[in-house]
């Protein structure tokens, strides 16, 4: 993508009212635009990041037998009346005959009860990546607490609690893997279950700007959410608890049996007996992860995207472009990097390049924009570079002069 064509360009300063780091940087760098409190447009750069996080999540969900589908935003109000959550779910958007889905138990249980009859129909693991809606009275902190946000929700259904628990363990392990892949260190945290279940486990990213309060045991390192804190003593070992700030990026929990009762989700087992279906629910906040990544990975100059979710791999900066020879060289490098090449190990698709081809701004402005946007590799072509390329990793200080071939090798090795 040529930067001259990209919508929009960076802003000199964050708009007033953007109090959190992720909102300030994502808005300034041109990833998101706020439409109202807690409601954002994902601009082309931001949409690329969301899409990459989604694809990483999708790949891992498919590996544990998840089948992707898409449930609606509009839910019949009657379903929510049945579970009692029309009243108890405090941030529900309600219209005349519908509510906007903040979660999908009220859709997936009645759906399954039409199809699941026998033990042969189980287990089932179904997921979607979809916008969720919660009428947050205090929508704030950029992508951390939105009224409209992108979430992956997986639901699993089983013949027994034991079978569900085994799958639950699998999901827990996969979650750790996903968060690692997208660059986030998470703490598994015991928490309450809200209207969903009795207990849940949260995945929390420890960071001073976090909205959640968690308690870490000084002795055994186990972590609990503030809902479960009693006397500030560890539930496991009785050790002292330290209060920390964190961002919840995922949560998993066994679902209350009452959903299956209300929506009549039973099956016939091998012996012809009627049994209740056991279920689990596994949420992962895709847009919230994007916000959390920025909270963790930034410096005074801007964002530092982990390579797995960066909107582009290379930020190619063309300098001295009034010199036709340099301009031609920069264009050539831009094209060569993007070429599909089956000989490049693990990268037949070509490398994603954002090419700053502007001829009306200074080198300083281009470097500042590159730092703000935060693409992993900055590559300069200029009069000075001649037949080499000047490479700098966004996360490091040193620049190096390398050939195109060496650059491609660097990128292949690093992801």
């Amino acid at each position: 993508m040529k930067y001259s064509l990209l919508f929009p360009k960076t802003l000199k300063k964050a708009p007033s009212g953007a109090e959190s780091i992720n909102q300030q940087l994502l808005v300034r760098a041109g990833f998101i635009h706020q439409e109202m409190a807690g409601v954002y447009t994902y601009l082309p750069l931001g949409w690329r990041v969301l899409d990459k996080i989604s694809d990483i999540v999708r790949e891992e969900m498919d590996k544990i037998g998840g089948q992707e589908m898409l449930m609606p935003v509009l839910h019949p109000k009657a379903n929510w009346a049945k579970t009692g959550r029309l009243k108890s779910f405090d941030v529900l958007y309600k219209l005349e005959d519908v509510v906007l889905g903040p979660s999908h138990e009220e859709i997936i249980y009645p759906l399954l009860s039409e199809y699941v009859k026998s033990y042969k129909d189980l287990p089932l693991c179904l997921y979607q990546i979809q916008m969720k809606f919660r009428n947050e009275p205090r929508a704030k902190a950029g992508l951390l607490r939105g009224r409209e946000f992108l979430m992956k929700d997986l639901y699993s259904f089983h013949v027994s609690d034991e079978d569900r628990d085994a799958y639950y363990e699998k999901v827990r392990a996969v979650y750790i893997k996903i968060f690692k892949k997208i660059g986030l260190d998470v703490l598994k945290t015991k928490a309450g279950g809200g209207t969903f279940s009795d207990l849940s486990e949260e995945f929390q990213v420890m960071t001073p700007s976090g909205e959640d309060t968690i308690f870490v045991c000084e002795k055994c390192s186990s972590v609990i959410n503030k809902e479960l804190v009693q006397d500030k003593k560890c539930l496991e070992c009785g050790g002292g608890l330290q209060e920390k700030r964190a961002i919840e990026v995922g949560n998993i929990f066994p679902l209350k049996r009452s959903y299956a009762e209300v929506f009549n989700l039973y099956f016939t087992d091998k012996n012809g007996e009627k049994k209740i279906v056991s279920a689990g629910c596994y949420g992962l906040g895709i847009s919230r992860c994007m916000g959390a990544i920025v909270e963790v990975f930034h410096d005074g100059q801007g964002i530092i995207w982990p390579e797995s979710v960066a909107p582009f791999q290379i930020h190619l900066v063309g300098l001295d472009l009034e010199d036709k020879k340099v301009m031609d060289e920069a264009e050539k490098i831009y094209k060569l990097l993007q070429v599909e090449d089956p000989e490049r190990s693990r990268r037949t698709e070509g490398i994603e390049v954002l090419y700053d081809d502007r001829s009306d701004v200074s080198a300083g402005v281009k470097f500042a924009d590159a730092d703000l946007i935060g693409i992993p590799f900055r590559v300069v072509v200029s009069k000075k570079t001649q037949d080499k390329l000047e490479v700098k990793k966004r996360s490091e200080k040193e620049t190096k002069f390398v050939s195109l071939k060496e650059l491609i090798k660097m990128i292949e090795l690093s992801d």
Copy 2:
């Protein structure tokens, strides 16, 4: 995907109340599930089709300079009050302080007015693929008239009407190409512009089950929508008009200047003069296309998917699976077809296979399910087939015995 694991299985008959062909077949075959009038879950098979249509649209949008982004569903009510559409848009979902987006002029104009200052910032072509909401009082006909539906909307912004008109022509040509790619023959139809513009062009698929009425000139073949009919004479040549039924799958129109006025979308031209931005809007109904395809491509047995949008390319049917030799052969073929093979022209990713591995249903049931689901190639492995495969195209009657290599060649040649 193994059919034994796929959610859900086919239904013996369509649910009561499903009056349209697309709803009957898509529900029976397990592509969609109705949650309420006009609101559907896209089940795993249906989600694959939607995704394929989206990808074809995306590819073509990118080729004409479209930049993908994602605008929100929740719109500030104030924006809709500004354009007067809070009252005039008759199927708008309204909540206390927000409306649910049925179209995105009220978001994209204010967004652009923050970034577009100079002629250098134009042209801009931005699009999204997103759920839209319209409170249809008579939601019906399956995916043809929904309350929640997937749409691609592209907006283009230009320094002049001439520039916009040139881009408009480009989009028109690309639309014809997209519809052809997904198997739909469309008629370009002149129509009114509703609350959006003065005139518009619709892309209509002629079919007896269509909800729209169009008029085709007997003499010059030009087509107009019923809004524009006067005395049943052609506007171009005065010829007689024939009334036909059709499904509108896309529409394109120059946007009324009043949007730019209301949201203050002006720019400074080369001479330093302030000028109004000229714009166009280009809609394409992704989920409606899925419905239209089924209305056009089906027979008494089920759906006949065009290869470009089919959920899988091959429906592999294993028969006599109680015979271990046959079972092993079927599993082997299932795996080999899916292998990534760079030597296969145009298909390094492997072939998508739905494998009916059930051992508890008859050959008759499996064939009936394959016809209902409508995947382009049915491939049988049985005692009879030995080292060959029995292939039948869904759209044809004859079966052929071929080798694996010949089968792969057939598929490569046909798409």
